[in-house]
Amino acid sequence: MTGGLLAIEQGDIGIAGLAASGILVAVAVAVSLWRHLGLERSLLWASLRALVQLLLVGWALQFVVDPGDPLIFSALWIVAMVAFAGWTTSRRASGVPKVLPLALVSYTAAAIVVLGVLFGFGIYELEGRTLVPLAGMVVGNSLAATVLVSRQLLIAADEQRGLIEGRLALGLSAKEAFQPHLRQALRTALVPQIESTKAVGIVFLPGAMVGLILAGVDPADAVKVQVSVMYLVLGSVATTTAVMSLGISRELFTPAQQLKRPTGPIE
């Protein structure tokens, strides 16, 4: 549709299209005003911030996605993403012992496992165009679950102290005494992801697939990519939460199998 507002058949909605999509932000602001939610500034700020962040990322991605760009740039990008995710986790789960190094190890482990499978089996070609976005999916989708499992474990160690010490007092090791709480925290973190995976295609169409279809990719191909991304997310969440929870479990106990006292309030 030449000269029209939208030009999605080329995978490009254009500046005018982008501006027009801002009408939907105006709808959200209108709802906030109508129901006196007081969220107008937050909505506008979040929308503007997302726009600027993504424009910056899009600009920066130019230096890593071309086939001729050295992979070292992609690797540095991934290191930065992992570091930022670790820092964010340490802020959202403050109080967890050694949270920053544990989070860094968890995200790194997930990146190695998931990207190792995706590229090791030749599912995607190893280049900046695939490496950075897929690593972003690994880290980004694991963040919420990692924070959740960290907080759950810390809360369990505090609120269930009586049960844990009851098991320790019977001669169980720290690992055995904490196992039920570890299992529960991991289930809490993973179940929403499993439910979301089950509902995909029925309740909602996932973002990657929608994006590809809008960009003109054949839906059958878009589905294949989407399925691999969903499996990537499942694997990432499982790996980060498993590594994080095992690390936290070790930090909560002394070598003498004693449950440590919390070092600060759980926020």
Binding site: G166, L168, A169, L170, L259
Partner: protein
């Protein structure tokens, strides 16, 4: 038991590093009968008990049992020899049998019934959801669970504080029966009547140190009013 089986505490500080509850504690706890730890709230009775099960370590000093520093014991082995029951009995999810399996994974029904009857409970409770037990039943079930590891010592941290009178008496009787059967019992109590019913030995703690120790008759005659008050001596 010989005195070598007793607990020895030498120069023990314990509690938060910036505000220790126990200060320079020197004490020997006999390895037979019922030893009651008495004294005002905050004196450090529960803190002391947790050291004996090694749920906590002292900030300074040493705790010894059977002539070995507790730090030389494997903590899990130690805790199976020195069992502990708490004021609020920790009930694990599942049936009474499931609770027993935490202490002894291959517990048989026969052993489970036997240990229930040993603590004065019906063997029929073995398949019952443990969360439905009354306070007194739950506490006795916890004692039974602890006994499955065949401990030489049972530490009891105010085990009757949350129980009604009838349940309190049954748990006291159980403590006495265990002591008579050779299991040394170290019992924290605020209740002077209970202390007088149970104690073979008494340790009075105050402000984080030992105020007096000995047999009840000796402490009844103590010139220290806090000691006499702590053991419920008649004026």
């Amino acid at each position: 038991m010989s005195s070598a089986d007793a607990f020895e505490l030498v120069g023990v500080d314990a509690g938060p590093a910036d505000d220790p509850i126990l200060h320079g504690l020197d004490l020997e706890i006999p390895a037979n009968g019922v030893t009651v730890l008495a004294g005002p709230s905050g004196a450090g009775k529960s803190t002391l008990l947790r050291l004996l099960n090694r749920l906590d370590d002292p900030a300074a000093g040493e705790v010894r049992w059977r002539d070995r520093a507790l730090t030389d014991w494997d903590p899990t082995d130690l805790r199976r020899c020195v069992a502990m029951v708490f004021q609020r009995p920790p009930i694990f999810p599942g049936t009474v049998r499931d609770n027993f399996a935490v202490a002894l994974p291959d517990v048989t029904d026969e052993r489970a019934v036997h240990v229930l009857e040993h603590v004065g409970l019906s063997g029929e409770l073995v398949g019952q959801d443990a969360s439905t037990l009354s306070g007194g039943e739950a506490q006795r079930m916890c004692v039974a669970r602890a006994l499955l590891t065949d401990p030489a010592v049972l530490l009891a941290d105010e085990p009757t504080a949350a129980l009604d009178r009838s349940a309190r008496e049954t748990v006291e009787d159980l403590g006495r029966a265990l002591a008579d059967s050779g299991v040394a019992v170290v019992w924290v109590s605020h209740d002077t009547d209970q202390l007088r019913r149970l104690a073979d030995h008494v340790v009075v703690l105050a402000d984080g140190s030992v105020r007096a120790t000995g047999h009840l008759a000796d402490l009844d005659a103590s010139p220290d009013p806090l000691v006499r008050r702590s053991v419920g001596a008649s004026a």
